[in-house]
């Protein structure tokens, strides 16, 4: 308060502005959660922006060390809670790599479909909330209309709308229910037109352009150096997409493009997200076309519990199921790192196993956490209002930042 008073009382030709420290958050509508940003400002200009995080820290990694491998899957839902599916995927893929388990084709396709749907729903919220922060309130309502359709699809799959816990080590909790494919096809038919609608609202909008073009610029070299991943990195023109460069699941069988920007400003990051939604839609269409019939769980009794039907009819199977659930399985000694292209960037799990039923160490490489480092270089020298655009363009989710 004293700082503000001293600025106000300065008069005359040479106005000396004193550096002001402003606390933005932790409760602030446009910091996307509980982020506390300590802004050092000269008047309206940002000198330094320092994120202060940890308000949502739950010690996920410590919890993981004390649980069986399969018991940690529901916890991953609570990381990036806007796209739980991809969190599930990254974790189960890491465990499957550790134990050397190959999953059936159909499960791979289902995983692709749900993670691309997840990508769309996450980007919808990212762009919607971004519009909301910059005053384009209509967009978030439009975006939620389509997000609702995706959540309905997920509800069909697993009964949940936020924390899905749909994937398990070695496969899926259930096959696609009847009617899912048709409903999903309806969605991908409608969706491209809806993206056009968003673009009509924003892409040519003069206010949107003024608020985003040339704001939060970061060069390709700096973006790589700062560890940016996902749409935020591709906005700077670095075409690195894990789905394309080191394909996992069955991504190498689909025809899709990796959009990239040229200037590395907020507007490019917006355009990348819009285009990624279109590409994700294309991937889902191809996956629905190609998906084969067959089992959705690997035939590996030591890791995957038997089908429900057998559990209720066969005593030995029931005992086996009980043992697997209560004691878990032993993983070989070693260490693996497995990462996927989550909607926010590279989501990786590093698991160290000491040969027991519980992981010795789990490290979550959360994209939002690493991306947050660029808030400072992006907003230095910009105006206070631009910080809001910068944060929105990075799309941090605090469940993931704080773990």
């Amino acid at each position: 308060m004293e700082d503000v008073m001293s600025i106000a009382s300065n008069s005359g030709d040479d106005i000396i502005t004193k550096e002001v420290t402003l606390n933005m958050g932790p409760q602030h509508p446009s910091t996307h959660g509980v982020m506390h940003l300590i802004l050092r400002m000269q008047g309206e200009k940002i000198v330094k922006a320092e994120p202060d995080i940890g308000y949502l820290h739950r010690g996920m990694e410590k919890i993981a060390e004390n649980l069986l491998y399969s018991q940690f899957v529901p916890y991953t839902d609570r990381l990036d809670y806007l796209s739980s599916m991809t969190n599930n995927l990254s974790y189960v893929m890491a465990v499957e790599k550790l134990i050397g388990l190959e999953i059936p084709e159909r499960a791979k396709y289902i995983r692709v479909i749900v993670s691309e749907l997840s990508r769309i729903s996450s980007h919808l919220l990212a762009v919607g909330a971004w519009g909301l922060d910059l005053g384009a309130v209509t967009l978030v309502l439009y975006a939620f209309r389509e997000r609702e359709m995706i959540l309905d699809l997920f509800e069909m799959l697993c009964g949940a709308r936020l924390t899905y816990n749909y994937m398990k080590i070695g496969g899926m909790r259930g096959d696609l229910p009847p009617g899912f494919k048709e409903k999903c096809r309806d969605f991908i038919q409608i969706f491209p037109k809806r993206v056009d609608e968003y673009e009509q609202l924003l892409t040519g909008n003069r206010i949107w352009l003024q608020r985003n073009k040339g704001v939060g610029v970061i060069s390709a070299e700096d973006a790589v150096d700062l560890g940016l991943t996902g749409p935020s990195l591709r906005g700077s023109g670095v075409k690195w997409d894990i789905r394309k460069d080191t394909p996992y699941l069955v991504y190498d069988r689909f025809d899709f493009k990796v959009p990239a920007g040229g200037n590395g400003d907020c507007f490019d990051r917006y355009m990348v997200r819009i285009e990624e939604m279109r590409q994700a839609n294309k991937i889902i269409a191809q996956a629905l076309e190609q998906i084969p019939d067959g089992p959705v769980n690997a035939d590996a009794p030591e890791f995957v519990s038997p089908p429900r039907k057998d559990i209720t009819t066969n005593m030995e199977v029931l005992i086996h199921h009980f043992k697997l659930i209560s004691h878990g399985f032993k993983a070989p000694k070693g260490e693996v790192y497995s990462s996927i292209e989550a909607p926010k960037g590279e989501l990786g799990f590093y698991i160290v196993s000491d040969g027991s039923e519980m992981p010795f160490r789990v490290k979550i490489r959360a994209p939002s956490f690493v991306n947050l480092q660029s808030v400072d270089p992006m907003s230095r020298g910009a105006y206070f209002a631009d910080v809001v655009a910068v944060i929105s363009s990075l799309d941090p989710v605090f469940g993931e930042v704080d773990k």
Partner: protein, 175 residues
């Protein structure tokens, strides 16, 4: 793992670039090389860490310009030391590599923030969770836990429910 075994299992180009080249160049500073599920890990000497990192980043046919993560592992029971692990990625070559250093308790590790700026938050997190000090880090302070927090939560001797105090009645009594 023997170097010959690694050679057999890896594609020739990966072996010559990611194993042979680095081992030839740094010789004694590479203490151990392992391969598990196709992932190469080099355990390196603490003093040579920054030099190796600079080499990996700037060597034209490696180009590990992307530091994915830095983390700690508490191996005091088995190896009586902490491990600090660096995950690197080379965007043009699509290689991944893991570098490890082993440090005793109360020993410092040279910071790699001068090599990759992305190490900033990750090293702070490792300090916060394990108490490993990174020498040369520009802003080494706790990142998740409050600044006045006592103890390092991810160490194996730190209880899962935390220590008992006025805010945490279910914690473990401090001895």
């Amino acid at each position: 793992m023997e170097e010959k075994e690694i050679e057999k299992e890896l594609p020739a180009q990966q072996y010559s670039l990611l194993v042979k080249k680095i081992r030839d160049r740094f010789g004694g500073a590479i203490l151990e090389t392992t391969l598990f599920r196709g992932e190469i890990t080099h355990v390196v000497e603490k003093g040579a860490l920054v030099g190796i990192c600079r080499f990996l980043k700037h060597e034209p046919d490696l180009q590990f310009k992307f530091l994915s993560d830095v983390l700690g592992v508490d191996c005091r029971k088995t190896l009586s030391c902490f491990e600090v692990v660096y995950h690197l990625y080379s965007i043009p070559n699509k290689y991944r590599l893991r570098i490890k250093v082993r440090v005793k308790e109360n020993e410092e590790v040279p910071s790699v923030t001068p090599v990759w700026r992305s190490a900033d938050f990750a090293e702070r997190e490792t300090f916060d969770m394990f108490g490993i000090v990174f020498d040369g880090h520009p802003n080494l302070k706790r990142i998740y836990m409050p600044t006045d927090w006592e103890g390092y939560p991810l160490r194996k001797d730190y209880p899962l429910t935390g220590y008992k105090d006025e805010y945490n009645p279910f914690g473990v009594e401090k001895v």
